[in-house]
């Protein structure tokens, strides 16, 4: 076999591998959309913002296909991008314009919790969602938000305190 034929085989092998990798990532992104949307919705509590966050995450993950080698990495990476994007869209659509709630318990419980959560800063909402909705450990939250585990514990406590204060109408 000549050198040229070997080179052609090597290049075509690389293209085939890249194509397979793209197919794997595309299938993964297709299957994981419900999970992504629900996590984004649990943070933003608005379907339009959640959809925006997921769409941006899908594009970023697709662009990063070549950097990722395992599906495990891909899920962690997608979660990281998604949560950061959800926080960004929340900050952009500042929900501080919501009406003041004097007694949140006058509404049904679900609505009351929602209204109280909307008074919290986006970072607090994200950390609560990662803990209560996703059920992640401190270590996993730390990897997702890019902060040390100790900081996760203190931020989670702060978020809980803020929620409790708002809930009790302090």
């Amino acid at each position: 076999m000549s050198v040229v034929t070997q080179a052609v085989h090597a290049v075509s092998g690389l293209f085939a591998r890249a194509k397979r990798s793209e197919e794997v990532v595309n299938a993964f992104l297709q299957n994981e959309r419900p999970w992504m949307y629900r996590l984004a919705l649990s943070i933003t509590q608005r379907s339009d913002l959640a959809e925006d966050a997921v769409q941006e995450t899908l594009i970023r993950c697709w662009r990063s296909t070549k950097k990722l080698t395992q599906v495990g990495d891909l899920k962690a990476f997608c979660r990281q991008v998604l949560v950061r994007r959800a926080i960004t869209v929340l900050k952009a659509h500042d929900s501080n314009q919501l009406p003041e709630i004097e007694d949140p318990k006058e509404f049904g419980e679900q609505m009351s919790v929602r209204l109280v959560l909307q008074t919290l800063p986006p970072d607090s909402r994200a950390i609560l969602a990662l803990s209560y909705f996703e059920g992640l450990s401190y270590q996993e939250i730390s990897e997702t938000l890019g902060i040390p585990s100790g900081t996760v514990a203190s931020r989670l406590n702060t978020a809980r305190d803020r929620f409790r204060d708002a809930w009790e109408g302090k």
Binding site: L39, E51, W62, V113
Partner: protein, 88 residues
Amino acid sequence: MKDQLENFYLQFHEAEVPPSLVQLDVPTLEKRRVGREISVWTVAFVLAWILTSAPTWTPASVQPSFAWSSVLGRQLEPVASLDAEEGK
């Protein structure tokens, strides 16, 4: 309080995903996005070039160097002779 938060987040596990998101074709969307980014950068580059170089332009520098006479097949009248006809 813990129970309230846990109960609240339970509802999102069953949230229905919008069909527009399910049907989204990511590779196509990404290609469109790249096209749009290239267009924006091109326009920005041209604008920046015009804004930075326009103050240095002179009538001579913006005159085309292309020889139109070779296309038209005849010698164009020099501008100076036109001025002479008008008695300037």
